[in-house]
Symmetry: C2
Subunit: 648 residues, 2 copies
Amino acid sequence: MSHRTSTPPEAAGPVRPGPGARTALRPTVAAEILDGFWHTRREVNARVGIPQGPSLLESAGNLHNLRLAAGAAEGVFQGDYPFVDSDVYKWLEAAAWHLGRTGPAADDVLTGEVERITALVTAAQEPDGYLNTWFQVAKGGRRYEDLRWGHELYCAGHLMQAGIALHRTTGRKELLEAAVRFADHLTAVFGPDRQIDGFDGHPEVETALVELYRETGERRYLELAGYFVDRHGHGLLGGEAYCQDRVPLRRQENVEGHAVRQLYLLAAAADLAAETGDGELRAACERLWSAMVASKTHITGGLGAHHDEEDFGDPFELPTERAYCETCAAVASVHFNWRMALLTGEARYSDLIERTLFNGLLAGVSLDGESWLYVNPLQVRDGHTDTGGDQSARRTRWFRCACCPPNVMRLLAGLEHYIATTDDRGFQLHQYAAGRYTGAVGADQVVVSVHTDYPWSGAVRLVVEDAPEEPWTLSLRIPQWCARHQVSLAGGGHLPATVEDGWLRIERAWSRGDEVVLDLGMEARLTAADERVDAVRGCVALERGPLVYCLEAVDHPGGGLDDVLIDTGRTPREEFRPDLLGGVVALTAAGYRRPAAEEGWWPYRTFRSSAGAGPAREPGSALPLTAVPYYSWANRTDGAMRVWLPTR
Amino acid sequence: MSHRTSTPPEAAGPVRPGPGARTALRPTVAAEILDGFWHTRREVNARVGIPQGPSLLESAGNLHNLRLAAGAAEGVFQGDYPFVDSDVYKWLEAAAWHLGRTGPAADDVLTGEVERITALVTAAQEPDGYLNTWFQVAKGGRRYEDLRWGHELYCAGHLMQAGIALHRTTGRKELLEAAVRFADHLTAVFGPDRQIDGFDGHPEVETALVELYRETGERRYLELAGYFVDRHGHGLLGGEAYCQDRVPLRRQENVEGHAVRQLYLLAAAADLAAETGDGELRAACERLWSAMVASKTHITGGLGAHHDEEDFGDPFELPTERAYCETCAAVASVHFNWRMALLTGEARYSDLIERTLFNGLLAGVSLDGESWLYVNPLQVRDGHTDTGGDQSARRTRWFRCACCPPNVMRLLAGLEHYIATTDDRGFQLHQYAAGRYTGAVGADQVVVSVHTDYPWSGAVRLVVEDAPEEPWTLSLRIPQWCARHQVSLAGGGHLPATVEDGWLRIERAWSRGDEVVLDLGMEARLTAADERVDAVRGCVALERGPLVYCLEAVDHPGGGLDDVLIDTGRTPREEFRPDLLGGVVALTAAGYRRPAAEEGWWPYRTFRSSAGAGPAREPGSALPLTAVPYYSWANRTDGAMRVWLPTR
């Protein structure tokens, strides 16, 4: 049975390519995550994360600033950054995606808060559409004086995304209209022959403007986005890589500068390539993605090697303790990768999304949803847990620079929109999240439900809930880390499957109720890094399925983690422990603790080539190494942590 | 023949233990470096480094600030730091040691400059002895408001050291008298029952006060130094390790906080232990030295792992690219180690001095003496030469924070005083610097001349130029790195030598003209680090004699240094190249350049335990690796550099 409609229904998620867009794939038109791993994480986000937003935004002063700008309060500007308004917008967007899932009526309290805060935003907006409380209140209204650091257009972009989200999920137009007013103001002020020829040092408005074009059909928003993207790299903001101004994106050879800025800009470039068919821009996105992944990505999917300027760092400069891996960069990476997945139809982008979601991103929020990490290092040394400030390795309730928490909230709240796609020939499942996904295949509708305990189990059962009568292709992503898989039709029957570039493709005439069983090999594995990565040479990481593992001091009493070694000759044991960290598969590997008695007066010794990799010595006392998923670290007590383990 | 005198003549150098000091060894009473490696470096320092001081201090504003404080000029304070006066004092001290070598009459120009600048200093001093142009001029005379960062006593200490040096070498008293006025002011202001109970956040005045006690005999300077040392660690300055205020030195377990601050404090503690016989303070110095050397010292002798707060970092946290290794910390390390060598008589302190001088310190000044490095990293990545600011990996003519250049100048200018010592039983040669050294052995005088092309050759010829008739012991340091040595008497004859704790000791009745020939094995060697040093695991360094070697991009055209590997199975070739870098022994090792074609889309791979330390792969194309002494790097063109080389 099929449900023919004259035009495909509209996607409800944050990325909705326009009718003329040159994307290989389209988002689902309806999506629900109903069970399993991500359902649990999203429930915490919905029950704890999002509801605590208004009080945190109140106590941090963000809402106060809006009232000041509206003339509705007395006092001074609160906060240290010109982008504090964006925290409010990101929270509104998170609430919107959540309400899109439950329906506005299902959560009166949240709906009321959204209306209240939307009213604060619209009241603060100036008649011509401009809105930035830092410049309105703290800077005497002197706009656009500091495009490099002012974040005015960055905030505008987040306002647009929030307005679009609320409109798409609840039908409410107030915030979208405020966003349109701001966008119209920008089109009047910025441009080659307008008042200001320039762009915001922190990209974000660009991708928002493309989405606003998609939402409203107003082509000048798309054109302004294209103008902004291409004005980067000509020195208008001083020529720094930090502001994505050293070289035009079209000529850039590797990602550089501030990681979040680079990734937001790339997301916009992918959007533009989709809407305009700009092949040069698409090629730049593909080239920069490949260089980034091959040389500047941590094993967790974390991006940004440097604390200094939150910079990408050099190729293969991937430190562990000093890894920055800002949580926002993980969010931005998902944004960029999803747009590339839609644009190209290639599985590798969703490989990176999976790795990022399960590791680099999810580590940014505590299991109870109440506290956060701004940076996501791959090692914390003994005694170095609380390094102070936003960049501490101790989870923090909120940050002075609170960009990350609402960014995670909005991504998790809208995560169902990043799971599956369709094209004219079939349905593609990118992520193994248990739920139900509906997409348009040609003029027909396909509904597939996914049942799995992934990532604890590699068994995935897919049920075709609705499908056209004609043959179509079900495509399942075989993850890049997966060394073996099996697929079969429940109840038997021939399954004509091929694997090509990461996609397992099954083309056949599907019937409602058809069940496919996929089994992905989930054995724990030891992973080594390219030898050019100085920080982890002679080390291995433990992985299982999409999860990167780490050691925590709390599981290794009696001496911290600075002196452990792993025995790579033995296979780690796996055990699901329902009591541990909300239920995880823990790994136990054979290892050693180096004896303290080895201390010498000088830590450098003559290399003995006969011993292979160093001076021949006893490895120390045996120490079973207990590894837990990286995303779950820093949820018990403070202490050392490490992902990369020196080999014996 | 011997020259008996009723009392030992006084040492002319910067450290002169008092008559009652409990030191195992005494400095030489006369010392000259006459030839060879260090003579060349000192000639450059004398011909280029020191003479350019006055014009640099003028153009940076230091002298202008003195004139402002004296009311002899109009304008505003120049410079960004409260310690700019210390640059002037350190330069005066450097000039003093140089004039002590040549005699004041031999360099009219320098003597004139010293007199001129001394007059600027004394004119700027306030009637009560206080002098700090930052506080006098820029801070409206508000003294001692910020002991944590004010550097007022730090500058006073450098004034004292300069005054002492000028008095010891030229007999001139003006600057010493100014220093005494300042010291008297400090004794009146600081103390448990005085106006201020506190200390300077940057130690330096402590060791200067001890030396001022030695110079003047005024015991209250020694007492004030002891008071300052022991007030650290009680939270008076906020309790930060940065200010050496977290824990009292007597209870401290490892070096911590700002490296230069820690080392100057330790130098003062060693001085105090020498003068007072304080065994607890001596034990703390020995304990902290051992912990520092075993766990926080780079192979170059460089100290201070962190750019952030110029901090020592954690045990075994010894990064390469981000190594700080401030040049001043190398100077400070020599100061501390020399005091420990005198105090204990142990050879290991001079082992570290040798390593520091030839590597971590000497790298701080260019071969032509005209430009400087503030930080001394162990790796510079391709394309990262000029990171900007004082911390650039490109040599700089002068720094905004110009502490290092005059610090190196003063150490090199007085280097002859760190070469040899005596005690009642004999003469000890700590460093193999060609020259003539005179010391008191009991009531007699021993003169030994040293002839060597060290460190290019390990052959050292020692001639007894003068000696008492009674037997005495000639002690020669066998360097910690040295795996084999031979010693013989020129012309044959029995040489009753023993080796104990790094000292080769020869006790006999010596005659004038006796010649000892020492041969130290100088074969190039590969060195591995303790496995706990994450940054260099799986790497080796090349060393030869006391020299640490490095690769520079200029010797490896065609692809930089990020992707080289060394073949540890083959012995490096050695060649003296008189044309290269002023004449160095270059090493050539077998190596590889990893092929660019190895790029994958993801830099992490499944570890294959059968291959040993990583995935089995071709090492790449053969690439002979040319290594030059680390001290000589960054003297040709800009480019990458690395000390630690990944092994095949």
